[in-house]
Symmetry: C2
Subunit: 120 residues, 2 copies
């Protein structure tokens, strides 16, 4: 069974996660056969490891991690591969892949341009 993890930075203010909760809600409405979990790099739960454990216990065999970041800086180039490698080692039965950051996607960028245009 395929599953996805939406991986965000995390923040001290709990309200910061609201768009992430909306994202998982949209995913569940539209892709109900593919389980989704959130995971955060720091300051919020669950961790990437906890999200893996949750999906593994529900029978996931392929997990795609989607970094919900704009840019690919130190967090994604340095911290993220270490976390992924730890998950690969701990869950060898799960086929793990990761996409580039969502901010690398032209359609995501276009949606931001369109948001700006509507705000004028």
């Amino acid at each position: 069974m395929k599953a996805i993890i939406l991986f965000g930075h995390g923040a001290r203010d709990v309200r910061w996660r609201e768009p992430f909760d909306r994202l998982t809600g949209l995913w569940r409405e539209q892709h109900s056969s593919t389980p989704v979990e959130l995971a955060f790099l720091e300051m919020m739960q669950p961790t990437l490891d906890e999200a893996f454990a949750s999906l593994a216990s529900r029978g996931a065999t392929q997990i795609t991690v989607i970094p919900v970041f704009f840019g690919q800086g130190g967090h994604l180039r340095n911290d993220f591969p270490v976390l992924l490698a730890a998950c690969r080692e701990k869950y060898p039965q799960i086929a793990l892949s990761a996409t580039p950051a969502v901010g690398e996607d032209l359609a995501v960028l276009q949606s931001i341009v369109d948001f700006g245009a509507r705000a004028l």
Copy 2:
């Protein structure tokens, strides 16, 4: 003349800003009559004040600031209003407004869901 500022967090790794540079490129292609500048909260230039100065010198009379953030945490709830207030005081001739974070926009969130679906 209307203008916009795309306001991001900033990062140590210069490659982090690539999606922001692509965003301004898309905006300039599609909305060439509305000048755009990037601005960053920390670790990258220009600052919000510098972006205001640049647009003011080009004759902007209305500036809309678009926070290119997913969540609205401490940066947008605490730091950002202080920066905006300073710009309002320094540039009283410019009508200034700010939108919610782009992550509050349903179409932006949908574009992330669609990106995830294509990655499966």
